[in-house]
């Protein structure tokens, strides 16, 4: 039977959902005809320990394990969304940013095992609520994560139970965090300093108030009475006379490691400090120790010791015990990471759906900080998870499967409905199931079922189940024979699957596939990719990024004003990053440095040319910055996330307006000479002249006093263009 503790103050909606969940697991054994809800095991702190050992068993026996994650968000700023103009390294930086900033709130794990007797798969769906609650205190400053409003709203639409997550989510520590915690623990327990620390606290409290003085005096009397009693009739009960019932509760007599001791209860921290002070000042044979144990909180004890040696021995023992207890606490704080360690240790084939981001999350949450380059990341991932397969890769790169997907949407749920219609419907009666369809049974808490109502979409447990089902079906379609496979490793090495394993979409938009074995990017040759390309081929060296221009400026206007200076064919494409930032792809690489130079020159001058120049429209407001593509990458790597790219660049620390780049001239392109920075207007004018010699000379003769708005100039150009 499933144990599910209901959050005490849960909303009725959450309650009903949890109840239906609880009901479903109780009715699965009956498999009533009315169609029970999809059985999935929900795991929170309440049942985590028990579930872990059960899951361990299922993972070991499994052929593959499907996973799915629900996060609190995907992009930390609009411009961080996946864009057409993202080079693969930039794309990785964006994924890294996402994985570092957002939290994982739900983790679906679903081991699949081939049951030869039934000729079907058995799935064991688990839905973990996780929440990084930092149970292990002292591991740095408080952890913060970001929530994207739309993502939270999205989760709410699918009835995500936030109370269960925050109240009872399983916590975790990454490997790196655990290592850090242990090092800092060792360093504190190794150094003498930490021992002194506890005693030193008491050193400098001046006895200012009368109450403190009286309290100190009273405590001194009590301790000396107790000690004297001990010395008079050693180790006998009831030697404390004159201590009232009240204080017996506060000073509880017991034996601590064979020494007579008093446990201090119900004192405030200030009072405890005073007691420490009293003990150290007036009693050579009493010592004050703090003991932390796994079972209880910190205990404050006053112990009697006969000799100095005994005292030192005692302190050492206490120190070791405290250290052990702290280690146990760290172990307990590892929490959900045990599941990840299990998947890694068993080296099972991990199945995900469009899972590059998921893997990045797994890495940053449970292994350590994400590396800077995609190559390093990929090799590191490969070490922990040697076999990963992405269902999205499978049905997009295989031509036969591609044909079947034609016209349908690529979302997980629609792929599930397409490939596994009978499972999606939940009514896979034995006679209807055609031989080409894989049969999947679900087992939760030792009760197996083969029919259910469709589960809740975007619940990690159900999503993982769907992913696994799709994978099983695709394997079947590819002709993989499960009967012949003994273990997961063999499945991953299967000839028919081999070319899909460890290939992940780095960018779905771009069709960039990365090979986890080698770190090499593989081009997606599937027909859908070639059809998808709406933009001309992107040459990153030819791109300039411009930001901080007026938000009213449209892409067409941008193109127009640049074309006026560099020629009508100079601009290949303009792509808005957000309202005030855009990429401009030039036809030639040297135009990048030319453009930046002209812009810089214009900014340095304040004469009429700067106002009348066609680029003035772009520079209006005086905040327009421009740089090459590499600067964009650098800005992307910053941990800051401002809403607008222009603000982001400022926050990143960019104080210049234009970043000039040197362009080494290729010999065949002679008509463009590499202009040196002269700091005068000549260059700007020269380039302008190339486009419209007459107009410029005319404008140059205009007296500066005459007010001509940049709009007026744009109009006159337009008029001329019409002629």
């Amino acid at each position: 039977m499933k144990t599910q503790k209901l959050p005490t103050l849960a909303l009725s909606r959450a309650l009903s959902r949890a109840l239906s969940r609880a009901l479903s697991s109780s009715t699965t054994s009956a498999a009533s005809e009315s169609g029970p809800a999809f059985p999935v095991k929900t795991v929170t702190t309440v049942n985590f320990e028990a579930t872990l050992s059960e899951l361990r068993h299922h993972v070991r026996a499994s052929d593959f394990v499907a996973i799915d994650l629900e996060m609190t968000g995907v992009t930390s700023a609009p411009w961080r969304e996946s864009l057409e103009f993202d080079r693969s390294d930039v794309r990785y930086l964006k994924v890294r940013d996402s994985a570092e900033k957002f939290a994982v709130v739900q983790f679906g794990v679903c081991p699949f095992r081939w049951d030869p007797s039934n000729r079907s798969f058995i799935a064991y769906p688990y839905n973990f609520y996780i929440f990084p609650r930092q149970e292990h205190t002292g591991s740095g400053p408080s952890y913060e994560f970001l929530c994207q409003t739309t993502s939270i709203d999205f989760l709410a639409r699918y009835q995500f139970d936030f109370n269960a997550c925050i109240h009872e989510g399983v916590s975790y520590l990454s490997r790196e965090q655990e290592k850090e915690a242990i090092t800092s623990l060792n360093s504190t327990y190794d150094s003498e300093w930490s021992d002194v620390y506890k005693l030193k606290n008491a050193r400098d409290i001046p006895l200012v108030s009368m109450a403190d003085i009286l309290f100190t005096e009273r405590m001194k009397n009590r301790f000396s009475e107790w000690r004297d009693g001990l010395l008079q009739e050693k180790y006998q009960e009831n030697q404390i006379q004159g201590i009232s019932e009240d204080s017996k509760q506060q000073l509880q007599v017991f034996f601590f490691k064979m020494h007579p001791a008093l446990r201090l209860n119900g004192f405030t921290s200030h009072q405890l400090k005073l007691i420490q002070l009293v003990i150290r000042k007036h009693f050579k044979d009493l010592s004050y120790v703090c003991v932390s144990s796994e079972a209880s909180d910190l205990q404050h004890i006053v112990v009697y010791t006969d000799s100095k040696d005994e005292h030192n021995l005692l302190l050492k023992e206490v120190k070791e015990e405290n250290c052990r207890a702290a280690q146990m606490k760290i172990q307990a704080a590892v929490g959900f990471r045990h599941v990840i360690d299990l998947l890694s240790a068993e080296q099972k084939l991990i199945v995900g759906h469009n899972c590059f981001l998921d893997i990045a999350h797994v890495y940053s949450k449970f292994i350590g900080p994400l590396p800077v380059t995609p190559e390093e990341f990929v090799t590191s991932v490969n070490k922990y998870f040697p076999h990963i397969v992405d269902t999205k890769i499978l049905f997009n790169t295989n031509l036969i499967l591609q044909e079947r997907m034609k016209g349908s949407r690529k979302s997980l749920a629609s792929a599930f409905a397409l490939f596994c219609p009978q499972i999606a419907a939940g009514s896979q009666s034995t006679d209807l199931g055609s031989p080409c369809h894989v049969k999947v049974d679900v087992e939760v808490d030792d009760s197996r079922s083969s029919s259910w109502n469709p589960g809740v979409k975007h619940e990690a447990g159900y999503d993982a189940f769907m992913t696994g089902c799709i994978f099983a079906q695709l394997c079947n379609d590819l002709g993989v024979d499960f009967k012949l496979h003994e273990s997961s490793q063999q499945l991953a090495l299967n000839e028919k699957l081999k070319k899909y394993v460890n290939h992940l979409y780095l960018s779905w938009l771009h069709g960039d596939i990365i090979d986890l074995n080698t770190g090499v990017k593989v081009a997606d040759s599937s027909p859908s990719q070639s059809l998808k390309r709406r933009y001309p081929k992107i040459v990153f060296e030819n791109i300039v990024i411009v930001w901080g221009f007026p938000s009213t400026l449209k892409a067409s206007e941008l193109r127009e004003c640049i074309s006026k200076v560099f020629g009508s064919t100079s601009v290949i494409s303009v792509y808005h990053l957000d309202m005030t930032a855009a990429f401009i792809q030039f036809s030639k690489t040297e135009l990048v440095s030319d453009f930046l130079l002209v812009k810089d020159t214009l900014e340095r001058s304040d004469g009429p040319i700067a106002v009348l120049h066609p680029l003035a429209k772009l520079l209006e407001g005086g905040n327009t910055c421009a740089a090459d593509y590499d600067t964009y990458k650098e800005i992307c790597s910053s941990p800051v996330s401002e809403r607008l790219f222009a603000d982001q660049a400022k926050a990143f620390g960019i104080k210049w307006m234009t970043k000039l780049v040197e362009y080494d001239l290729a010999p065949q392109e002679e008509e463009h000479e590499n202009p040196s920075v002269q700091g005068d207007l000549n260059t700007a004018v020269r380039f302008a002249e190339k486009a419209k010699p007459n107009t410029i000379s005319q404008l140059r003769n205009d007296p500066p006093s005459k007010q001509v708005s940049s709009y007026g100039i744009a109009d006159s150009y337009a008029a001329e263009a019409n002629l």
């Binding site: 400053p141 408080s142 952890y143 913060e144 409003t149 709410a156 925050i166």
Partner: protein, 624 residues
Amino acid sequence: MAASLFRSLSPKKIHRSLFTTLSSSKWKVKQVTKHNFNDSFKELKTHISDSDFIAISMEKTGSSSSCHRLLPFDTAETAYFKARRCAERFQVLQFAVCPFSVTHSNNLVAHPYNFLLFPRDELKLGMPTYSFSCQTSYLASMARQGFDFNACIYDGISYLSKAQESVAKIRLGTAFPSLRVMKSCSASTVADMVFVERIRSRIKHWRKTFENTSTSTSTSKDEELISSLRNIVLGNEQFRSRPCLTIDVCSERQVQLILEMLVDSSDILPLLAPGKGGTARAVRIVLANSKEDKDLLERELQNLEEEENKKFSGFREVIDLISASEKPVISHNCLNDCTLIHSKFIMPLPQEVDEFVNSMQMIFPKVLDMNYLMKEIGTSRKVSNLPNAVSYLNNHFFAPVDMEIPDQATVNEGKIHGLNALRLCYLFMKLCSILKISPSVAESGNKHLAPELEGFTNVFHPCSSNIQEPFNKDINVWTNNTRKVSCENVVFLWGFKFGQTASMLKSLLRASHDIFSGEFDVKLVDKSCAIVVFWEPGLSKNFLEVMSSEEISGDLKELVSDGMRVTCYETYKTMCRVGLWEMDLAESLERTLESSQSDTENGSVRKTYDIHWYNENVINMDDL
């Protein structure tokens, strides 16, 4: 101190004050979600207008931690920068409002409300916020107190700040350009005259057709049919069953001319048809039956606009309501609450603290900070934990307060969230009673804030001095344990060995150079950074010079070679301003120095504020 008189308590009185605390567990607060917002809002409106004070309290998704938290040596400026960062990062999930009125000396009538908020993007414009930060420890402690996150996220009320509302209206093209006629600033040109004449004649002709029909038709059904047919054929438009004419315009100037022309008309109402980008696309001219009909129409449209606005502003209506009432607002952390309100509901926070204070004054003219009132009774206790503060007062002072909550019956059972605002009312009354201040003064029929309380309004300074006079050197009551020090005499120091205490550092420094022969103090800020205070003016500058000069020698040279770095208070200020927040202070200061080296020419105006040096803390921090 007058307060100590109250300390002698008879057992009977203790019993009485305990009773009041116990009853607080039975207080109930009306919970407001998006489902009952409109009804509750109407209720709140009357309660606010009847009340004397309004207590507010918020629940956020996090608060500043580590070196971003308020430190004892923060000035008004740096404290504001820290509060600004906090307000921009975190989200309000709960806003408790409690209007209350004081009936007599120690009796108050309170109407507590608790609004659940969630920044849902109702208009699909990426507003009110794209994302927000959550602190896990903060959320976990909210969970321990039984906060219902599902209720908040599923049913929370959304909102838009004033600034966002205008952006949204422009983007959705529903902005109503101002109907008021602007004074024509430029002389009319010939083109203008021609335009006006043309429009005038067009309107005249258009009117004539209606006059003709109105005289000839005598409510015959056939005529009605014919007139409606004519409307269709001629393309005549109707606006709210009144004839109307649309005149396309191509510039703001033309709009202005038409409005000027029609300003004296008694039965023609010009309306602007909004286009994209907040400019008028056309002017719609509606012909009313009479002057009264025109007024009626105008009022109708105004109401419609207000309804429309509600959709945008959401919960902000409540803020607007409090602001419009101009009643004193009671908060338990003025700076944090006001920065949050300003950034979420008004507009992005300004760069400088002075601008913020001015802007805030326009929104809430009087905000009372309970922390300062609490200090007045001679305790160093902060009101950060309200239940503790309440029980502290109950245990130490005898000041019975009777609280009446009239709407208890209508409140659903078991919901006790948002009690803090109610606790604030209670605390306020208790403090007033202890300090023998009558909270409000009736003056010629109107109630005013007691003059004794005026001093506690709008205090945005972190520790002491009144913001209106931040340079005031007068020692306030609560500063008797602090020694003032100018920022100029403070030096930040980092790069020392891990685990060194302040006293170890102090002796190390004393032995290192002659500068340290005078009186100075060292205090650890965190594990890796300390501040050094020179009590003799000018020495800090000398020290900084020595540290960067080539003549550095001896032990100090050793320390610097081991990686010790120093910087002045100005760097800390820059760090707070720019928001270069790393995990610890040393790292943040280092980064600030790096970036400021690259633009030293951008010298900003230096201001000197006084900060307070807590002698008490020096001793305690020594042991870290």
